[in-house]
Amino acid sequence: MTVAPTRTRAAWPIVADGQYEGSRIPSPIPTVKTVPADFAERDDIMRVNFGPNHPSTHGVLRLIVDLDGEMVEGIEAIIGYLHTGFEKTMESKTWWKCVTYPERIDYVGYQNNELVFVLAVEKLLELEVPEKATWMRMLLCELNRIHSHLIYLGTSALELGAVSMFWYCFREREMILDLYEMVTGQRMHTRYFQIGGLAEDIPEGFYPECRKFVEWFPHALNDYLTLLDRNAIWLERTKGVGVLSASDAIALGQSGPNLRASGVDWDLRREQPYLAYNRVDFQVPVYTNGDVYDRYRVRMDEMRESNRIVDQCLRRLERMEGRPIIVDDRKVVLPPREELHTSMESLIHHFKIVTEGFRVPEGEVYVTIESPRGEQGCYVVSEGGPKPWRVHFRAPSFVALEATATCLHETLVADLIAIVGSLDAVMGDTDR
């Protein structure tokens, strides 16, 4: 098999790569910025500890910062304060019980995390998911993307002093969670995606409610823009701060909005379509400066595009009344509830799946999706038994935090907060 020849660095998908000369990745340790040698001897370098309990580190992140006055000269991030042992715990649960766990990893983009695991198991089982389930998954994932970006926007703005943004963002977040509650019964951590489809049919009255939200949300986005986009303090604090160049971002494995803000035109939803993303119309926003402001703009535009995708999903779904929501493979999928009272076979299948679980063929897969934070990967190894042998998640937040040291170039300590916020790391995702 042949592989296409190497493209030059400026070739697609890199739209712009000239944010700064050369590379700013610290050497030799790419994630630790050390105080320059001529500084280290001076005794006015102050070492400050941020976290793990700090109101503006987005969770239990600990940063050890060397300050020269107000300037950040060195930084080291320490993570692991929220290590939950997902990967070990999932090895002792049956496949269908495991679905509950990935949501708690990235607890802001929970629906996408659930999706990646379910897709990985479906790939091993080679299941064909019904169309209605696919579109509904897409709808919920896009709502979840909006939810995630709203949390980013609310908390980042709060940290930079724009307190009212928090209330506006949480107003729309509540609307999204109401929709979630209507469909799944849970606000967060829904466990709505089953292996093979959806857990329940879409309730009556969901489409009109969702449509109301879709029609309302662009107005809300305009509200946000009015509040922030001409706000001199916000612009001052974000423009030109925490610049990351395209080639550094790629070398550091960045993905998602952080990568697109650095001028790389790359979105897995478009390049490597999963679900039915190749059947919807949406734009991939790309900005070229790579600073905090551009990361904010990418997320704002993404929310608008996500809203459009939700709209298109709704149009499809409204015509799919009564279609199946889950595959009809009784060896994998729980039988419908009402059958348990009438059919012996269904009862046996239910009992077998619930007690011992189903078996998944031997093999290993690595599935990636575009979660709100970037490339969310799931590596699953199956031994052929009822439990996974190894599950590993490629966490976009984990990778995003690696770029902290690179983004800090002649930065004030106050901008450190803006930068860490703009990378949008969720600590549960980072530590797993």
Partner: protein, 193 residues
């Protein structure tokens, strides 16, 4: 040994059975009536009432529950109605520690330090299944319940609890404090067993 409320000489019935009305002892004394008629109260009760109206939580988010904890400040739930909208970033200014999420062993020492830095009287709410009991994470890294290291006043179940559930926990805490239940650290250091 776990001390019971009545060992403290407290009217536990009042908590468990709020509609029961005054006890026989109170009836004979007529305390309620005197208070109502004269508009007087004991200093202790007045202080307790004041404390419940400004019980400031620490800004301490751990995991999933932290998002729902943030939501109680938002406009729909508006914890300001109960005088608690002022989330304090410094533990020294906070009265209430809401442990919102799973606690890893690595995090245990920082949490205990934050708790020790808080000034008395102080309260702890274990929010969610993980903080209460370890929840679904029965493994090497997660502390099986934050009551191993902190005296917990109120446990809020669910995973994650709705904002309403957390508010219910907070209101129960207010109720208990108004009724004279001392904070958990006066009753025990940490959970037994």
């Amino acid at each position: 040994m776990v001390k019971r409320l009545r060992d403290e000489g407290l009217s536990s019935e009042r908590l468990l059975w709020p509609t029961k009305g005054p006890s026989r002892f109170e009836e004979e004394l007529g305390v309620e009536e005197i208070e109502r008629a004269l508009g007087i109260t004991t200093l202790e009760k007045a202080v307790r009432w004041a404390q419940t109206k400004s019980m400031w939580p620490d800004t301490f988010g751990l995991a999933c529950c932290a998002i729902e904890m943030m939501a109680i400040v938002s406009s729909r739930y508006d914890i300001a109605r109960f005088g608690m909208e002022a989330f304090r970033s410094s533990p020294r200014q906070a009265d209430l520690l809401i442990v919102s999420g799973r606690v890893a062993h690595k995090m245990a020492a920082p949490i205990r330090q934050i708790y020790d830095q808080m000034l008395e009287p102080k309260w702890v709410i274990a929010m969610g299944a993980c903080a209460s009991s370890g929840g679904m994470f029965n493994n090497y890294t997660i502390l099986q319940g934050v009551d191993r290291i902190l005296p917990v006043d109120i446990y809020v179940p669910f995973c994650p609890p709705r904002p309403e559930a957390l508010m219910e926990g907070i209101l129960r805490l207010h109720e208990a404090h108004n009724a004279g239940v001392p904070p958990a650290y006066e009753r025990r250091t940490v959970a037994t067993s």
